[in-house]
Amino acid sequence: GKKDAEKDTKNTEQTDQIVSEDDAKKDDGSLEEQAEPQQGGSVIVGITQELDSLDPYLAAAAGTKEVIYNFFDGLVKLMPDGTFEPALAESFNFSDDATEFTFKIRTGVKFHNDTELTIDDVVYSLQRAAGMLPDSKAALIPQLAIIESVSGDAEAGTVTVKLKESDADFITYMTLAIIPQDYTEQAQKPIGTGPFIFTEYKTQQHLKMKRNADYWRDRTAYLDEVTFMIVSDADAAIMDLQEGNFDIFPYLTMDKAELLKDKYDFIAADSNMVQIWGLNNQRAPFDDPVVRKALNMAVDKQMLIDAVTFGEGRALESGMAPPMQDYYNADLASQYNPEEAKKMLEEAGYQDLKIEITVPGDYVIHVQTAEVLAAQLEQIGVTAEVKTVDWGTWLSDVYMGRNYDSTVIALTFDYVAPATVLRHYYSKSDNNFINFVNTEFDELYESALSETDHAKRVELYHQMQKILQDDAASVFLQNPGTQTAVIKTLGGYTTYPQYVQDMYTVYYK
Amino acid sequence: MQNDLTKSEYILKVEHLKVVSAQGAELVRDVSLKIKPGEIVGLVGESGSGKSISTMAIAGILPEGISIAQGNIFFKGQDITRITAQDRCKINGNQLGIIYQDASQSLNPLIRIGKQIDEVLKIHTNLNPKERRNRVYGTMRAVNLSDVEKLAKRYPHELSGGQRQRVLIAMAIINNPELLIADEPTTALDVSVQAQIIELIKLINFSRKTSVLYISHDFSTVKKLCDRVYVLYQGIPVEVGATTQIIMQPQHMYTKLLLESIPTPEKRGQHLMIMRARTKDYRGSATNCLFAERCPKVFERCRQELPDMYEMCDGHQAACFLLDK
């Protein structure tokens, strides 16, 4: 018990340290920002995923979204601190029950094809995304399926959205890209109002964009040209990084930082990931809460973070990630206690427990995590067999088919909406792949959805997290930090609680 | 040229030739033979007696790992056993023409035969292409090939066995060599072609005064062609003499038996064989008469000593102790 407490304090200390380090870095950043930003220049950004459709509503891959982000603006813009600022909407307001939202649309904004942004464009965009156009089959953005109607008022310059039911998170979805009406080539040559204009895309090679000289904000982007180079993975690109051929390279692990620190600054960002060891709650032996608890106690998360993310991660005790700001319940204590775990298992009659951990082999971090877990479990006498499957198979067999023992995966969220994370534990959800059933949790979840009062919502979410820990829904591992390498001559690289590569703020020092 | 000829009486003189393989086996033990200008000499012996190996030794084309261990070969008075590759190139194909035993293996399968015949001229003469072509066609006609323009453009596999053999002959004689070695040119051909080729060699010998070393294991053709015959047994000549002498009065037991095993009309339906079959191939050096194990008249001495050549009458010699009376 004592040991635990010690460890605990250590952990919190460490997290604190990290936070303070982060702060320091941000301070550094702001110091550097005082160094005069230069106008002009071009940069090369390395990305590790093939792009799919460039249409902002059809693009499914996260890797695509973070790139095409630069072509578009939403009605609101997510800020680095997780708040929202008006963008194409000069202002907005919503009804108390969060069912009706009204946006005042900015005037004088031009699309890349020189046509002016109109109310119709906004209405069209929302309707298309919500699947309300006559020829659409379903909502292209599922979160927008709750829209009941969209109406524009050209006189007033406003657009009003009515929802079928209340959704307090709705505003977060309004970062949705606004596109020109009736432009059909969005998938090949995307057009938006954003700070960069699409110029060229070659599959398997690169996507190029140039500065939008007509940008509506008070300044245009600093950079003249940005090239996103597609590489298969960071390991394969290491040589180029050493030579300084990339200007920006996101999603590196800390061990790479050691190698590259001469040429690059490393900017740490919280990822929007919750890495969990998902236990199939309906499968023996995980249907027994004792086993789940014991496994929770058996995992040394800090060691795991050291081994896999080279210390750049935050141990989690529940299903919410720190980047969710207030919603994150930081008060939950670590449960690490392998001796106790062993005892619990023995008492419950589980001897020589053999389990299987199915992981998507494409994700090295999960595979390594599983390996470390297996090594840790060995100490409490549990034999874990790591089985890797490819991503497509994982999705259909594990995630959709729910046909597995346990798995290591990271839950991500496209919007900074706490519900999108905890949805995975809501028993009626499609995404509850761990088959977690807890009526209390379900009730809390449902009420949080319609709650508009911030403080109350925070409270509800904190309670939900507590339930997840108490009931040991799964083993919550870490919020892996990612490192972005930015070449020393560049400044202004900003991270957001959402996956985007915002080139608007980047400049040559 | 004239000088060379006057220098030696023989165009080819082989003295105590011994050819061994890398493993030390003696393929040719002790061969001596002489050929006068204009003479046709036969070399007869059973399969494996070292006929072809002797030929290769003369031409300097012994296969890898096989070498001359002893003896000399004088070609027009010059010892050609140890000459440089360049000197060899001057003799081969120019003064010495060879018809190889297996025609299908002696022609490069990927080169048109016209070109292959032409190659000899290309190497040894400096005629222009047109002259060369005429000569190639001329020679091809001389060896009784018809439709030569078309034939010259064919590949070896497109010819019949007889035609191939003739191409080889054409190749061997195109440069008017002074010595022609014909290594079993007629085995594997049918009777009518065989007869034609024998006639052809006769003709060449007659018209160009070319000396011929004719190699065969078959007495019937030797009888028609040769002036003198050497009978070879296991790498050693056992009998030499004029063809008629040898056929009419063979002295060595081997020759006698060999002649008896040829089917003739008189022996129809009867047993041919009196000679015991050979069971072992002995490749060590000879210390006794090698025919002893098969000889019906073998006696003690045969098993102990190696017989010398005993001369009967002018030029007829045989290596048999029975003659040492």
């Binding site: 093939e50 599959t203 040589m239 497509g392 | 296969p63 081969n92 990927l110």
Partner: protein
């Protein structure tokens, strides 16, 4: 000749059909839903159903096959699921890189293996022969991706320099840029090509007609180039054809390591995304390349060695159809 081409075309068609079916069946067996893969974990069931409808991937197999062939006949390879682009266009963009690289590597293989083979064959079993073979076999023994990485490390090649180039033979600086990947492909195969040529030369040296050429009075160099070399080409060309077909199909690993936008990498992406039309398209292309290269090898070999007959008529002998037609034909002959 025309007959031969027709026969080959028939074979090609059958092989292609077989391949298309195999791939269809494979995709039926492999779990994974392209719509789900594209949309990721956060998508809802409705969204996936909508996309499936859009892509038409939930049709029953016979209908799918039927539609595919209907398209194929019109030369339409379909639309890639993953890239949302016509398959033809994607392959068209990736093939030049792979093909140029293949040709480059191919030339390297020839340039390296021919002199080595000639040197090694000069004296079989000599120290030189043995050491050349030891070195080349070692290159063959190193796993291809490891070899590529080692090459990169040794020569400190960066990939960006490569992939930023246009990546085909026509572009300037191609030879320098693509040297490393081409070398990585070539090195392991040089051993194979060399070994075949060396063995063939040694075999030819033993042939009697080579010695017969000495008997004609030909010089050493003449024999080597006029008689031996040409005759050893048949096995060499055959193995080169095999190699060419193999590298034309896209070296997945080399493209992965050197980040080249070629067919191999495209194939990996396609399979991972369960992008059926794209996979099918690439494999059809690879199959065509394999078959066409085989055809070329036959043609060249026949040119080198006239003994090789293009159409192997004998093997058809036992065909029942020919047997029957003999009889028919024979009746006619008799009547005449």
């Amino acid at each position: 000749m025309a007959r031969y081409i027709l026969q080959k075309a028939g074979q090609m068609l059958i092989t292609l059909l077989l391949i298309v079916f195999i791939v269809f069946i494979m995709f039926e067996l492999i779990p994974g839903n392209p719509a789900r893969i594209m949309l990721g974990m956060n998508a809802s069931q409705e969204q996936i159903t909508a996309l499936e409808l859009e892509l038409g991937i939930n049709e029953p197999l016979p209908l799918k096959i039927k539609n595919y062939f209907a398209g194929l006949i019109q030369g339409d390879l379909g639309r890639s699921i993953r890239f949302d682009k016509p398959v033809g266009e994607l392959i068209g963009a990736a093939a030049p890189t792979t093909f140029s690289l293949a040709i480059y590597a191919f030339i390297l293989i020839i340039v390296l293996s021919v002199p080595l083979a000639l040197l090694a064959a000069r004296k079989q079993g000599s120290f030189f022969d043995n050491s050349i073979r030891f070195v080349t076999e070692t290159t063959l023994a190193i796993p291809p991706f490891f070899m590529a990485i080692i090459l990169m490390l040794i020569f400190r090649t960066t990939q960006l320099g490569l992939s930023s180039g246009q990546g085909n033979l026509a572009s300037p600086g191609f030879l320098r840029q693509f040297l490393m990947p081409a070398l990585a492909i070539a090195l392991s195969r040089v051993a194979m090509a060399m070994e075949f040529l060396r063995d063939a030369i040694i075999e030819q040296k033993r042939m009697f007609y080579t010695r017969a050429a000495v008997g004609k009075g030909a010089t050493k160099s003449r024999i080597l180039f006029f008689h031996i070399f040409r005759n050893s080409l048949v096995p060499f060309v055959t193995v080169l054809g095999l190699i060419l077909a193999e590298v034309f199909g896209g070296s997945i690993i080399i493209e992965q390591v050197f980040l080249l936008p070629g067919l191999g990498r495209l194939l990996v992406t396609a399979v991972e995304a369960r992008d059926f039309p794209l996979t099918q398209g690439i494999i059809i292309l690879i199959a065509i390349v394999v078959i066409v290269v085989n055809f070329l090898v036959d043609l060249i070999n026949q040119f080198i060695d006239p003994r090789i007959r293009l159409s192997d008529v004998k093997s058809e002998k036992s065909n029942l159809w020919t047997q029957l037609s003999y009889k028919l034909k024979f009746r006619k002959d008799i009547k005449r």
